[in-house]
Subunit: 322 residues, 2 copies
Amino acid sequence: MKASEVIKKILAEHGEITEVYWVACGGSLIDLYPSHFMLTVESAKTSSGWHTAKEFLVATPKKLGKHSLVVMCSHSGNTKEAVDSAILAHERGAAVVTLTDNAGSKADDPRFITWVYPWGDGVPTAEVPLGICPMLVAELLRAQEGFDKYDALVKGIAQMDDIIAKAKVKVNAELGEKFADLCEKNKFFYILGSGANFSQTYGFAICSLMEMQWQNCCYIHSGEYFHGPFECTEPGVFYFLQMGSSSARVMDERALAFLKTHTDQLMVLDALEYGMGEVDEGVRAYLEPALFYAMNVELRAARGKRFDHSPEIRRYMGIEQY
Amino acid sequence: MKASEVIKKILAEHGEITEVYWVACGGSLIDLYPSHFMLTVESAKTSSGWHTAKEFLVATPKKLGKHSLVVMCSHSGNTKEAVDSAILAHERGAAVVTLTDNAGSKADDPRFITWVYPWGDGVPTAEVPLGICPMLVAELLRAQEGFDKYDALVKGIAQMDDIIAKAKVKVNAELGEKFADLCEKNKFFYILGSGANFSQTYGFAICSLMEMQWQNCCYIHSGEYFHGPFECTEPGVFYFLQMGSSSARVMDERALAFLKTHTDQLMVLDALEYGMGEVDEGVRAYLEPALFYAMNVELRAARGKRFDHSPEIRRYMGIEQY
């Protein structure tokens, strides 16, 4: 499937798209955020909303209608509230794109344009939601209002696989053991990030750590940190700072300066030291969440090894009724 | 100042408003969220964005322009990134309303429509941002597209003061000591909420607890809870669930059912048991954050008393350079 064809089909049927809603749950919702962020920053025509699926169902935007595009992602394809959101959007006349890893699932339905993506080691960034969705945005922008960063984005997506491959080696050498040590010392800690990366700050907390490691932690936006949360900072409290490479970086830098002098438990992952400098500055913000996601995977594996807790283990999800 | 006059003036100068951006930091950002939520749900014409101020400056929406309204709130009136956001919005041609408690501050500037609000015990909900902003939304809706819940909203705002007064007595009698006990037993805990109330879930965490009590904690959306965070739940882990009274309540109820059987450390504050049932169902969602805010104030005071830690104490904010 090609993003350009998806957008062409949508515009042929819906005339114009004036708002896009990104709807999913948990890890899939996290994967949609960079594209929500990108559309908000780059579009003079189309507004963007990002909604956890059940909230989209019970507090539905009144604007949802013929000129809306809903992009729904469900990895399993069967998450009830996510599928219900796509159905609601279809009934309201919106264009609906569903992304799923599971062909034949409920998300894979003729009412929607369903994009089945592959998953696992070695699958290129371009083929998973973190690469597909920015291209959907780029094609929508190009078709409706022009997008002068189009070529840079296409090139940037292609660059990510090599950047990530090198970064995996580096993060394991430099931060894996350190992170496992810090997890042994700290029953609870904070993760900081900003911009589109904040999705991976949240994702590291709720997916990689809470879900897959049963590790208590909290996610804080680097900009918001100074408007309350920093009062908790003191020696003995561990902070993991995800430093971005885009315009939001100034918030991470401000947090870094404070953290350096106010805690003795600090770990920093700087995207500029992990290859993001190779990508065009104008599109880095939308792509570096893919780098942070990959780093989160390595770090949770390092913790899992130390604690003898495989990231595959669940005690409730998909096991109990809830 | 009257919301109707503010909107009238804005529409006279800007013709129409096609998007509203709510921009602030920390506690002020939290106070803007219910109105962002309301506009998203209730408007078929105007989109809504909610941005921490520094991020608004470094990742500015391209749509920001003549037909945008930026509502900026700064309690002190001098928070640099918030004031800079208002200036940027003005320079881009947007209408700018600034809310501040501080007449003569940088937020109080002739380039903006500045609404100076009173603060402190006994100030009615109608006169603070949690009451002013829903009325700005209501007047904008009424002027541009009609709003059939207008009377219900006006009535609801007037009802909140009595509801809150009674709720303060009740929460201190029923939950104050219990919360202080649970804080003594738990060095870290989770707060859950959903819908517009999620702003006060976040606010209780970052303002009332992290900032004012140096209490480590984390905020989780009740709907997202099942997509990762619930794997951390077990006996000995404390959860405080803020249950709303509006359509989002189904998410809180689902979390409640799970929490009841998976932890022995649970505290629930149910808005329906604290008077929200008196308010029209169609507008409750936009007003109950004012109830939760008032309850947060009481609970942090109860904790502060037990720990001999006044909520007024700061060690960094306004003291150090950062």
